[in-house]
Each structure stands twice: as C-alpha cells, then as structure tokens.
C-alpha cells in the first residue's frame, strides 16, 4: 500500500518535473488501471471523456455506471466485500458518512489542490469540506441551485408584461391565468417525492423569505422562523386554489417534473438550474424551445438552495497517484484544461463552482442559446449552502420530512403543527 510519505515523495518529484517539463508527468502510461464508478447520467458522455483521458493523458481508466437508486448502497457493499474503486462519484448527502467511515480520503495533501481551492467559489468549497471544516473531501462533479423559470409566450398571451418579482406577484399572475382560462394549473413547483424535489424546494423558498431552516448547530428551527410559515402558507394557498398540478406530489424525480413544463401549459416553474437547458434549448422535446422559457431572479431575498456533488478518492486506493490525476481531470483542470467541467456545461448545462470557466467564449456562446448567463451567475452569488447534510441523521430526516411538508401543502396538517412536526422529527433522529 502507498504510504503518505512515499506518495508525497513521488508526487514532489513528479511535480518538479511537471514544472520543468510542461506537465510531462503523464507521458508514461499508468502502470495499473484506475477504476471509476458513477451513477448513470449520460454514460456515453462519460465514456467519451474517459477515452479522451486514456488517449491524451495515457491513462488506463475503467469506467462503470451504476443506476442512481442503487449507487451509494452498491458502493458500500463493494467496500464491505473488499473491492477498491479508486475514484467514485459521491453525492453531498453521503460524503461525510463515507469520510467518517474511512471509504474516502481527504485530498488536501495532494498536489495542485491549493490552486483549485483558490479558484472555487467559497460557498461550494465549504460544502465540499468535512463537517469540522478542516478537510476537503473531494473535487466538484457539478453544482446547482433552484431557479425560477417562466413561460414568456403564456405571460404575453395573458397581457402580463413582466415576470413576477415577488411571490405575491407570482400568485397574482397564476390566479389571473387560471381565471382567464389560459392555464388550468399555471404553477409547477418541484414538489416531487424524491430527495431532489420537495425538501430542496422547501429550503429554497424558506431562504427566499429570509428564513433559516437549520441553526449553526444544524438543528431544525423552522418553528421559530416566520419566513418558513409564510412560505408554507403560500404553498397551501396555491394548492387549495388549484394553481398547481396535484400529481406533482407523486412524481418520482425532478427530471419527470421538469418535463411537464415542456408542454407549455404552465406559466412558472421552479427547479434545478440545468433543467432550463432541455426546456429552452431542445425543440425536439420542448414546446418552449428555443428560449421561450426564461429564468428570472428567485423572488424575495433572491436566495435559493445550492449544493455540490463530487468525485472522491478511495482511502484504500493502491494507485493514489493515478487516482488523483484522474480526479483532477474530472473535477479540476489537469494541466490547466477544464475539459470535463467544460463538457458538462456544454452538453447538459451542469454548472461548476469555478467562476473563471464562465469567461470561456465557448461556454458563453453555448449558454446564450438557452439562458441569460449573467443572470444565472448573479443567481449563483445568492446560492445558499447548508451543512446539515453532513449530519448522520440528515438522509432519513430529508426523506421522512417530505410527508410532513406534503401534508402542509394539502392542508391536512396546519402549518404551525407541521413545522413543529419537522422539528420533532429531527430531534427523534439525533
């Protein structure tokens, strides 16, 4: 097994040679293969850039895609069986758990990481760190936040000149659209039943009301925040007034939810930023392409929930040098090239926490086809991260809280009671 001392010694020599010889430390083909596992998202794209890496950087990377629902349990089961996957995708909810249980290693001591840290947005850097804030647990796969999207032709048809700037105005617009029979259900919030739906949407709307969901010690404090109650009362109101597709509560993913907006039958939609790409730039799928759907700054304080998923290095990797090189290729800028991060921006609108990427002419031209990039970057400045997901109870809280929030939305639980239930739920899991 490579010791830290031996690795640093080798890395130091290679780093020096890289400085002297323009990054030539990758010229020799890697001795051992490096395994990369990730959840299924555009596996052909991943295969393409892995081929690129193997050819250009002389790697021997073996890539495997695992369905999202089984991904994290599968990786844990494999670790139990003694299998070592050198580089892995890891979503934000599981990162701390993998670190505390010794599946991943921090990357702070690896060459070139300080440069990447400096380039990263501070909020994203924080979210990639361990709970105590001392260790960087991986490099970013992507970052995203919630945005507000509107259907421009529908608003124009109803004589609404500008999109809503406040939640009250949004509700007013939706009431008018329904009354005028322009849309049966004009509002499409991401209230789906998956971990990427209701609860991130809940936090976004709470943040936009200037409320906190967790305190500094990561305790749920929603019963003490007037902004949370305000957001929940608004949700109840729009549901009761039939402004929302009632089946959004049983949609099984954010992807399914955003596809509803393709139909052009909704006026407003809140969802992850990257979904606007398929809505506004894929005429073969969406009636709102090209660029008939647009984003507007999130109402209220403008803040919305932001998270960062990651590539992590296995703590037991026997090929740390090559594993780290691959990780830098994936989540950083190996030899100064943001190849993978750029590919995700161009192909899927998946953002990353390196602001300098967005000065690249290719990125600017690509985003211009589906979004106002300047506005998106402004929205990212308002992105708010939490650290509660680093707590061991968070995954269970996040899933079980959905039912409580759904009951508040449907009015089967009064808002003050529901908020107290959320607090009690978290306490019961600690």
């Amino acid at each position: 097994m490579t010791t830290r001392r031996a690795f640093l010694g080798t890395a130091g020599l290679l780093g020096a040679s890289a400085v002297l010889a323009d990054g030539r430390w990758g010229l020799a083909r890697a001795d051992k293969p490096v395994n990369l596992s990730g959840w299924v998202f555009k596996p052909d794209t991943v295969k393409d850039y892995i081929d690129f890496y193997n050819n250009k950087h002389h790697g021997q990377v073996k890539y495997e895609a695992i369905p999202w629902a089984q991904y994290h349990p599968t990786m844990e089961t494999r670790a139990l069986a003694g299998e070592i996957v050198d580089v892995m995708y890891c979503n934000h909810n599981n990162r701390e758990r993998w670190y505390e249980n010794g599946l991943l290693r921090p990357v702070d001591d690896l060459p070139g990481v300080d440069e990447l840290k400096k380039k990263m947005t501070p909020a994203n850097l924080d979210s990639l760190k361990s709970k105590d804030g001392t260790k960087l647990l991986g490099l970013p796969y992507f970052t995203s936040l919630f945005i507000l999207i509107y259907n421009e032709p529908m608003l124009q048809q109803a004589g609404i000149k500008a999109p809503a700037k406040s939640w009250d105005e949004l509700v007013e617009h939706c009431m008018k659209l329904k009354k005028d029979k322009v849309s049966e259900t004009p509002f499409l919030p991401n209230w789906n039943n998956s971990p990427s739906g209701t609860m991130p949407q809940f936090m976004s709307d709470c943040f936009s009301e200037g409320a906190n969901v967790f305190d500094a010690k990561n305790r749920v404090i929603v019963d003490q925040e007037p902004g949370v109650a305000k957001a929940m009362e608004r949700w109840q109101k729009v549901y009761k007034a039939d402004l929302v597709n009632p089946e959004v509560l049983t949609k099984t993913s954010s992807t399914d939810t955003h596809r509803l907006f393709w139909s052009g039958r909704y006026a407003y939609h809140t969802n992850h930023s990257y979904y606007l790409k398929t809505i506004a730039a894929e005429p073969e799928n969406s009636k709102l392409a090209p660029k008939k759907a647009k984003m507007v700054m999130y109402p209220g304080t403008g803040q919305s929930y932001m998270w960062t998923d990651s590539y992590v290095v296995n703590a037991k990797s026997k090929n740390l040098e090559d594993a780290w090189k691959l990780t830098r290729f994936l989540g950083g800028n190996l030899n100064g090239d943001w190849y993978v991060q750029r590919q995700w921006c161009l192909i899927s609108g998946l953002d990353n926490p390196y602001p300098e990427m967005y000065d690249h002419p290719e990125i600017i031209a690509s985003y211009d086809k589906w979004i106002d990039l300047k506005l998106l970057r402004e929205q990212y400045k308002k992105g708010k991260v939490i650290s509660a997901y680093k707590e061991p109870w968070y995954g269970e809280y996040d899933t079980k809280a959905v039912a409580i929030v759904h009951n508040m939305i449907r009015g089967t639980t009064a808002v003050p009671k529901g908020l107290k239930e959320l607090v009690a739920l978290q306490k019961s899991l600690v």
């Binding site: 349990p73 844990e76 039943n193 089946e247 049983t250 139909s263």
Partner: protein, 308 residues
C-alpha cells in the same frame, strides 16, 4: 479396497451438489439476512465477529437482540404501513383471483379467436413492472394521460381527473395496475386446472340436469381447489412484496399514503442505510406471508383429498 457406498449414501452423494447450490443461493442468504435483523449493521465499518465461508470473510456485526424489532414496532409509520399493506394485499388478491378466474372461464369456452386471445392474455404478465408502471402513467396522468384525454374528448369531464392526488385513490390505482399485470398468470393456472377436469363429470352433471352455474359450483370449483390454493398463495406473497410499481408510480406518496411495508423496508435499508431495522421490517413481512399461507392451507386444502 474400492470404496462402496450404501444406496442411501450414493443417492445423497448425487444430490449433494444441488444441496450445496441451494445452501449457497437460498439458505445462507436467508439465515444471514435474518441474523442481520438482530444486529447493528454498518457496511463501511464491519467491526465485530466474522465467519469465513469458502474463503470469504462474512461479518456478523454487533448483536443488538430484539432492539431493531422494538424500534420498528414503536414507529407509527410502521403500523400505518402495515394496515395499508393488508388492505393492498386483500384488495389485490381478491381482484386478481376473481379476474383470473373470470378470464379463465371465458377462455375455456369455444369461440372464434380463442387461441389468439389466450396468447394476447400473456402480454401484461410478460412485461417488466417498470414498463407496466410507465405504461399506466401514460394512461392515467393528470397532464397527458390518455384516459383523461378520451374522457375529455367524449365530453364526460371538464377537468382532468388526478388519479394520484389522494392517497387512498392512488393506493387503489396501484392495486388495479398490479392486478392488470398479475391476473393473466392466475388465468393461466385456472385454465390449466379447468383443462384437467374430465369431460365425463360435466356430461354426468348435464344428465342430472345441472345448468352452467351448477356445473361451475359443483364440478369446476371443487376440481380447482388445489389451483385456487396456489393462486391465492402466489398472489398474497406477490402482493406483500410488491415494490417496483410504487417506485415508478408514487414513491410512497402523496405524504406516506401509498407507503407499504415493502417500500418502508426498502427505504429504511437502502435510503437511510439502516440495514438492521430494514431487514427487521422485511422479516415481519415474511412472517405475515407464512402465516397467511398456513391459513390458506388449512382453509382450502384441509379437506382436500388428492387422488391416490
């Protein structure tokens, strides 16, 4: 001196490979998962005792006794999911059995196109349940569902029906979709049973003046008793274990109103990484399946004397 085996040992030696296979594939996982339900499982920290099996280290984790069972029995969500599961299974078994029997009766008659109908019947059963779920989303969806479209075009509704809006309606939709998927198999079994009833019995009943329903009650049904047992047991076990349709159609929502025990166990084990309580939840389901099977056996096969 050549080794001589008695006939019994020789037979045992012949079936030994199969027995080993059954042990590795069935008995060991069963016993191990039962063991897990009494332990505190952390896949990433497999501390505690372990056993070696065919060179593989199998961790036994920390024994916690009945703690996992106590914890799940203390959870109101477990009990609400249990009552919902019992409703789901009861409704599904009833629908699948009656529909299966009804279709078998029709397909047992002689009419033009019967072979084609028998072939078409198997299509819903042969589809993967994920596909079945997606197919029914296409039919029932509030926004783009074909059924809402048809009803609207025929002027029967002004506003789309939201089949998944209320939990109880959504649960009944799940029952019906699962019945659509599973009833053809019951039909197949019933049909096979009906084919094996000797024609003489029907002829004799006709001579005695029995009509269609009397022939059905006094000839067909008694002859189908073992098949009925099989259909009920299979439908009950399948109903208890049904998971994939929930995954595709509702994910246990709205709120927890379509959450069944199987979904709760799956969530607990694979979303919360609580494999101890997760397996405990699922073992209560196993116990229920066994209990219901025994009841069926007593009720249906108790008085059944097979021909010797």
């Amino acid at each position: 001196m050549p080794l001589r085996l008695s006939e019994g040992w020789f037979a045992f030696a012949l079936v030994l490979p199969a027995l080993l296979g059954i042990f590795v594939v069935v008995l060991f996982p069963l016993a191990y998962s039962l063991w897990l339900s009494f332990t505190d499982v952390n896949l990433l920290r497999a501390t505690g005792p372990a056993i070696e099996l065919f060179g593989v280290r199998v961790p036994l984790f920390r024994w916690v006794g009945l703690q996992n069972y106590a914890r799940i029995f203390d959870d109101p969500l477990y009990w609400s999911s249990l009552w919902r599961t019992l409703y789901f299974v009861g409704a599904f078994v009833l629908e699948a059995t009656l529909m299966g029997l009804g279709m078998a009766l029709v397909l047992n008659e002689r009419f033009a196109g019967r072979p084609l109908m028998r072939s078409l019947l198997l299509i819903p059963w042969s589809l993967s349940r994920v596909v079945v779920g997606l197919l029914w989303v296409g039919i029932l969806d509030f926004e783009f569902g074909a059924l809402n479209g048809l009803l609207h075009n025929w002027g029967l509704i002004d506003r789309s029906i939201a089949f998944f809006k209320e939990g109880f309606t959504a649960l009944n939709v799940l029952v019906s979709v699962y019945m659509w998927n599973q009833a053809p198999f019951a039909t197949l079994l019933f049909l096979a049973g009906m084919q094996s009833v000797p024609e003489d019995l029907y002829s004799a009943a006709e001579v005695d003046g029995a009509g269609y329903w009397q022939r059905f009650r006094f000839v067909t049904l008694p002859a189908l008793r073992p098949i009925l047992f099989l259909v009920l047991v299979l439908a009950t076990v399948n109903g208890f274990l049904m998971l994939d349709l929930i995954y595709v159609l509702t994910m246990g929502g709205p709120a927890n109103e379509t959450t069944t025990i199987s979904w709760l166990g799956f969530q607990t084990a694979f979303a919360f990484f609580k494999f101890g309580p997760g397996t405990a939840i699922l073992y209560t389901l196993t116990a229920l399946c066994l209990l219901v099977t025994i009841v069926y056996q007593r009720l249906i096969l108790g008085r059944f004397e097979p021909e010797r």
